[in-house]
Symmetry: C2
Subunit: 409 residues, 2 copies
């Protein structure tokens, strides 16, 4: 792995992803396998003025042992100390960095009910933390680095060390640290994303109609006052940060009850170590009324059945088929990468920041405006080479948005 | 490493060390480098009926980055969530297993003041947890497994993998899992330790007088009602457990104000990644009035200056020179092993369980009985091949306890 790129990556995460401020606390969620990189990030963050760096270590192999052997009742309980860890640091204005690297195959023998119960308990306990992140009150950033199991899944048929090397190289490319001036590259990229956002925001579409050969035939209504966002965000304290690295999407929210038709997945979805593949979902007045899946049906069912809001969509995101990550032609089995290679939707919670004044609206006001609320937020990929999207303006005028998988503005 | 021994080791820890009970919670403090072994322990514990296993991961390399780069004030603060983690599980009757494996050289460039401040803040925040452990209310157990840096320090001049292999073999021997019947071997060992305890308890010495060529010339008064303990302990709920594995010591507490003379260290002491070596301490009426150290003087000074009680002794422990770990003739730079290869004393907190009814006495009553109280409890090794110890009974009769480093009963 190129050490020079590695150092640039750490620097870009701290300076652009988190944009750490003097005397701020940084909380890092990191798999223990990623320790070396997490230590590197910590050192850069301290040198940039962080007051303290706290690491919340995790180990999915240990989690699997728990899922298989733990007593039933523990999966409905989220420990108080862990809730305090997240909530208290969030209230202290900490920045949160998640190093996401999960073995897409690890949990396939685990009862999906247990995973879903644990995930629900965690989402309930961490609701204040999650609300803060989803409304950008705190600074947050999700990144990935290779782990052995993940690299082998992405690049089967070559040795583990070659696979790791190849995944590192791929990640360095997607996060724009393989050139001389990563900061400049990111600034350029932000400007590009802004063009798409401006096109969409200026047109202020009321509907988007999706259609492709895979079987997607979907009409999505967008709420009054929706905003298309992309690239960087601004925190409550006015700090610009990059929630995802890489990021290629522009996104907004749907009107909760305004989705009708059928959508077909275009990439496998890795949900907590379980793969859901070749699935389709049918919506009527926003609600999921039917779904199928060749693989991971039970997991998809549990996601949808989490709560009322998990029967509805919360995000609509556009990524051109001809875009950097998509062009790598790699299946990542990692949503951070796959969602940035493909148009996607998300089941569940919507980002209030995608609505004008949404950050300052009460839960009731958000609900009245058609903003979906759920414990879940699960992105899934629907973009294809032949995807066409027609926008319909408030005045009923049709405008071509996507043709053959790409923007045509 | 012998997989068969490894499995036996994990089993012995869970069954004899922790003696896990049905539906009990197990908390494991584990370095991330020991993840594989910690996962194995977890699985055994679940299979033996544990309700839940919680791992509190640590990484000393990350800790070093914090010590070097963190802002001053963070070293006096112990996070609330971490206090809750320990305290709440302790109140829920959890068992606590610590996997102790530290690089003896890692912290040598770190300001010892920062380490001591962090250690003090931790001891203050965890006082309830520590009191519970030191009075055996909860079940607790300390074990070690090799890490790369530790193995290289213990066995320099051979390759890392050879050193690891050798340290594994050594540990398997000392924890009695290299035979066919580890449980039987431990039961036999408990009976042997009981013999020494009975000899000492039956004699009910008022004083112990230590002397060797190294320069130790020390007289320790033992309080009325002191008890010599060793091997297993019994928790509040009546569960037998083994606080240390390995363990070769029998131990009691000194009368706080009854220690006079000089004691010279016989093995280096690894304190949180700092070595203290070739040191001597002079006591008057129990109090440390002078000390020297060829290496680690500042660290020793900070330990002694922690609080009032860290100027006094809290533990007196006897280990024959001719005993299993001592006979390996290895310097471990790990107190769990070195203290069980050598007679030792501890600066700081005394174990209330070493006094009749001590478990049920108030803090004031313990103080009145001469039981030392401190945030610290630091064992240090003083045993030598020529160590002689004379016991003086309540009636003033002299009885030889140790001659040439060994019991002579």
């Amino acid at each position: 792995m190129n050490k020079n790129y590695l150092e640039k990556y750490a620097k870009v995460i701290v300076e652009i992803g988190i944009n750490i401020q003097d005397n701020q606390i940084l909380v890092i969620n990191s798999p223990i396998e990623c320790a070396e990189f997490t230590r590197m990030i910590s050192e850069v963050a301290y040198k940039k003025g962080a007051r303290d760096v706290v690491v919340n270590w995790s180990d999915e192999k240990f989690a699997k042992i728990k899922y298989i052997n733990g007593k039933e009742e523990i999966f409905d309980n989220f420990p108080e100390w862990k809730k305090d860890l997240y909530t208290n640091y969030a209230r202290e204005n900490a920045a949160f960095l998640s190093v996401y690297a999960s073995d897409p195959e690890l949990m396939k023998d685990v009862d999906p009910k247990r995973i879903m119960r644990a995930s629900k308990a965690s989402n309930v306990a961490l609701s204040e933390y999650r609300e803060r992140m989803m409304s950008d009150r705190n600074v947050w950033c999700v990144v990935s680095i290779p782990t052995r199991a993940w690299a082998k899944k992405v690049f089967p048929g070559i040795s583990e060390s070659e696979a790791l090397e190849k995944l590192w190289d791929t990640i360095f490319k997607t996060v724009r640290v393989n050139g001389n001036e990563p900061v400049e590259a990111w600034n350029k990229h932000k400007i590009n994303l802004r063009k798409s956002m401006e096109f969409l925001n200026n047109n202020n579409f009321r509907y988007l109609k999706y259609k492709n050969q895979l079987g997607t035939d979907l009409k999505i209504e967008l709420p009054q006052g929706h905003i298309w966002l992309g690239g960087s965000s601004i925190s409550e304290k006015g700090i610009e940060f990059m929630p995802n690295m890489p990021t290629e999407e522009v996104f907004t929210l749907p009107l909760k009850t305004g989705v009708n038709g059928k959508v077909v997945s275009s990439r496998p979805l890795n949900y907590n170590g379980n793969i859901i593949n070749n699935f389709s979902i049918i919506f009527r007045k926003g609600k999921i009324v039917d779904f199928t899946a060749d693989q991971g049906y039970e997991t998809l069912k549990h996601i949808i059945q989490t709560d009322e809001g998990s029967h509805y969509l919360g995000e609509v995101a556009l990524v051109p088929f001809d875009s950097p990550i998509s062009n790598l032609n790699i299946l990542f089995y990692n949503t951070l990468f796959d969602e940035n290679a493909s148009c996607h939707l998300a089941i569940g919670e919507a980002y209030p920041v995608c609505l004008k004044e949404g950050k300052n609206m009460s839960k009731e006001a958000l609900k009245a405006a058609g903003v979906n609320h759920s414990l879940e937020h699960v992105d899934f990929m629907i973009g294809t080479e032949d995807l066409g999207i027609i926008g319909i303006t408030q005045e009923g005028k049709e405008v071509e948005v996507f043709k053959n998988g790409n923007f045509i503005y």
